[in-house]
Symmetry: D2
Subunit: 342 residues, 4 copies
Amino acid sequence: MKAAVFYGTEDIRMEELETPSPGEGELLLKVSGCGVCGTDAGIYYGKSDKAVPPVVIGHEITGTVERVGPGVVSFREGQQVVVDPFIFCGVCDFCKTGSPLLCSNESFLGYNRNGGYCQYTVVPEQNAYSVPETLGFEERVVCETLATVLAGFDRLGPKPGSSFLILGAGTVGLLWNQVVRNSLPAAIVQTEVVKRRRETAAALGADVTISPCDTDVVETVRSLLPLGVDCIVDATGSTEAVSQALPALKKGGTFLSFGICPPDERLSLSLNWVYRSQVRIITSRRPPRHKIQEAVCILQRGIIDTKAVVTSVRPLSETAEAFRLFEKERDREIKTAIDPWK
Amino acid sequence: MKAAVFYGTEDIRMEELETPSPGEGELLLKVSGCGVCGTDAGIYYGKSDKAVPPVVIGHEITGTVERVGPGVVSFREGQQVVVDPFIFCGVCDFCKTGSPLLCSNESFLGYNRNGGYCQYTVVPEQNAYSVPETLGFEERVVCETLATVLAGFDRLGPKPGSSFLILGAGTVGLLWNQVVRNSLPAAIVQTEVVKRRRETAAALGADVTISPCDTDVVETVRSLLPLGVDCIVDATGSTEAVSQALPALKKGGTFLSFGICPPDERLSLSLNWVYRSQVRIITSRRPPRHKIQEAVCILQRGIIDTKAVVTSVRPLSETAEAFRLFEKERDREIKTAIDPWK
Amino acid sequence: MKAAVFYGTEDIRMEELETPSPGEGELLLKVSGCGVCGTDAGIYYGKSDKAVPPVVIGHEITGTVERVGPGVVSFREGQQVVVDPFIFCGVCDFCKTGSPLLCSNESFLGYNRNGGYCQYTVVPEQNAYSVPETLGFEERVVCETLATVLAGFDRLGPKPGSSFLILGAGTVGLLWNQVVRNSLPAAIVQTEVVKRRRETAAALGADVTISPCDTDVVETVRSLLPLGVDCIVDATGSTEAVSQALPALKKGGTFLSFGICPPDERLSLSLNWVYRSQVRIITSRRPPRHKIQEAVCILQRGIIDTKAVVTSVRPLSETAEAFRLFEKERDREIKTAIDPWK
Amino acid sequence: MKAAVFYGTEDIRMEELETPSPGEGELLLKVSGCGVCGTDAGIYYGKSDKAVPPVVIGHEITGTVERVGPGVVSFREGQQVVVDPFIFCGVCDFCKTGSPLLCSNESFLGYNRNGGYCQYTVVPEQNAYSVPETLGFEERVVCETLATVLAGFDRLGPKPGSSFLILGAGTVGLLWNQVVRNSLPAAIVQTEVVKRRRETAAALGADVTISPCDTDVVETVRSLLPLGVDCIVDATGSTEAVSQALPALKKGGTFLSFGICPPDERLSLSLNWVYRSQVRIITSRRPPRHKIQEAVCILQRGIIDTKAVVTSVRPLSETAEAFRLFEKERDREIKTAIDPWK
């Protein structure tokens, strides 16, 4: 089979690998598509040390069951699935105390096990979720990302009538936009540097979009909502963007750090402000596995516009190019999906 | 001013009363409209002993501020408002322990204080909520009911991707339909005896509607969702309807008793089933006051179709007729609003 | 090895079985003790059809690791452990949607897999929890039951300053007593038929104990707490006991069905009362696995008197006698533990 | 009556004032005692601008009802009470949206209304809580502080079996110690500079106490609990203390900012660490009013050692001296109470 194998920083090679075999409790998937995520680009450009080369990266996987391994009971050949790429050990201290998402011995499809930038891949039965035939390609490709957004939404726990400031309108920001829009909000303000993305944000549901380069975010928010916003969600991963936006938070509000900020950045935080304003700073990383199922349910109702998010589909041979576009030409595409059969 | 005064069972009289004066911290409202609720009809027909005659009933009040009483700081003349009719004492054991909604010495506009079936009424400043000029008549009329639905929704606490069975498609059932539809559900099934209401439920967002007289509710639900539904919300107030529907509940699910069942009815409940199925039985009555504000925020975004709910507006003189229609001809109207200036 | 094998109603046989071998990811335990639970007695007397004979029942297991199976990474020989007997499949609809405790294909040590009334037993590594050497025999024996109580306590979610009515003072009732006592309650009232158990309840922390045969429960509660209690926990499994006690519930309070009521009993429940009183009816069955770890942590601090609960230790040969005492002579023992090496 | 009137920084004067009269819905209290809080000392030394001089400060008030104002229904003369000093307006945007604790027009007994360092004071009926005669002087004096701790504890929402690091062992730290100790914790570690307070912390319930000047806090915590602690509670109000301690937080843990850090201090926070460690930063300021009632309930059971906290009682004339001791000689007293009749 064809695979894009990651060997190290800016080194991805198209190779012919042997089609893998599913082990006990595993499925062999024929990959139909695999999304390109910021973390994948980060791995490629050496900003993230998560991947253990040589490895097939890509963790936003959708495919059809080609073959089931021994002991598999809940799948049969031909079923269309989406995948949770996270595998916890079940026996470390975090797993044993009810926090498998913090597992000390985690595996991750596309990091330290082969992922989805290839034609066939093997996934544990427990990580695969069946999806209805009616679910489109783009919907299946964003399932994993939508699941992480839904997990963040749970953590945030907004009430109907809450107001939101979403920082960033990439894939994650646009999915936040749509989840929030469908959750009885009072108002959605969204910031984004790239004009095209701002336009998409506005078309999807943001009441107001702001270019943070030209416009004072806090002033704009406060002119609309004098008390500030109930929730700020960062989908940029920029500490500076967060720092600029925080004063827009309403007393009693919550800031959710959702984008991954670089390890060398520091937020200069006044605990006196935290106390006087009674704000919370929370975060959300991986979704509990069943959030994939929730994402499937929601997508089935057709209320999430995934075509506005998945803006191009490229062949396996353009995986590196997809990373380059993500990193250097953000105005070109939002989410790229890799189709290994194209 | 003109007022419809309740004197006792099936005895409402059109009278000319003196226009009241707002006291300390009170507002005099010029009533623009007042919704007719099942409880109002219940009072009229002697099913409820809540009202203390002679009294102007009607508690779903919207109006404009005609005059502010001494000490009022947050309103000025001419502002359009909606009203929370519930007044707690602040000093009883329930109020003192953080449960003002369970107040032992409550007052209630339209029960033991004059309400809204009249041209002018007095409300405490704390109970009035300012609404934007853009909010339509029907939206203002349903604010109070929507607030109670939002409070029930909070109690229920469904996750995105939950499935729902809503019993009944009157005003309350149709508002539940719309709140749920806008909250990332997986599926909505709704039962209703009256054909026209079923059609409205389907048009608004129910995936499947059921006439419980002709069709087995549990069978229909289970054929669509073999494991059952995550949430059942009763908006009928019929113990029998609840009893029939409960087996449709998924393991781990929640039944919310929202309609008011008659005091002499009993549900025959197997605690063994509760335990084995790990289900919850909860309820929700009055909304915390700020739910009115949430309702206003949500209505402002135009996502709730209130014209599908408020199906007629009648003059004060037809208040008794509105009760009669509610009670005896359910296929005629859904919610009636009284306009005391018509 | 010696084992007490269950063959059917009132048929338990002492047999010599081959010592089992741990498979992949499994531990062979040398059983030090195994508690006798009401469900075990129920199985023996044919009231419960959970067990699949022939099988070694007993699920409140403590022991030391005799041998580790292939692939085991978190245990070594000689470690003392307690066990969560519940094994979920991981791939059914409930497991896949985040509710493994509702698993459709569950296994259970002591029901459909060999449990603890024997000298050696095999348990999955994921189900075993290491305990410190300082934890006494009685503490290890009650770990599993305490975990179920802690799970119920989580569901109940009482605030500091809550008042409690606990129905029953057997093992479960006495553990509830102690968990509540250590959780900043305002007051604990406990009912119990057996005098000795009432005395233990009082000694451990109940402010008032009631013999429900001689005394009106609701009257007694209301004389102490005129508004009623915030929480009622049933640890009797008697629908009649629940029915008698429910009117003692405070407005806004919660009833937790914790004991297992017989399938043929029905509670006659007024939904009007539920609504007017704004009460919740909830339940709790199996604990999430990590509750075992919480139980270990709590027991380590020495705040739970387990010797008041585990009142006798009997050899394997007296397993049937232990069931008989549980069922027929409740005034003799509270919890019996079986020591298979005695 | 005698009163200690605050006129400005380091200017408190003993004066003879006219005994006040209770207005509508108010109580006149004969003050039995009033605690000295860090905020009071901060006001005196010009670190806080909360007080509006000339004013009688002091907000930890206990007394007996001397006279009831018109309209008071829930108190009679002679009753012993404790007081919530916070008065919200009820009509600002925060009050109207369910967040009265964030009220924009708050009053506060002892800040902008006369408080408790005097012989008689007036409080709203809604702010007074009746306490049983059995509650001792020290218990009544700490009620208000205990209420704030209980509110923080609610926010924190720890599960049984959680581990805690409490920074500081002054009044607040020692009450946290005792609330936590009585809430099924796994372990309590407490830091404190003053030796005597460390000893009290250890005597009350801390498993380990640390002098942060001599000992590395994180190293000590990690040697005991290799994964770190579930909860860090700051009761010092020192950003540096927080900064030093934060790395002791377990993945998935929560930091509660409870002490008031100076407005000019900044915490240098890595959002990458927040994200990777999945930690929360929360805070808690004022308690919902009913927490006073919870505090009373808990104190009644005698499980909080208040004599270890209230270490001296001084006459009104020594109010300034009490502030001096709080600020400059922390090893002398923990909480001082003022008795205006001494």
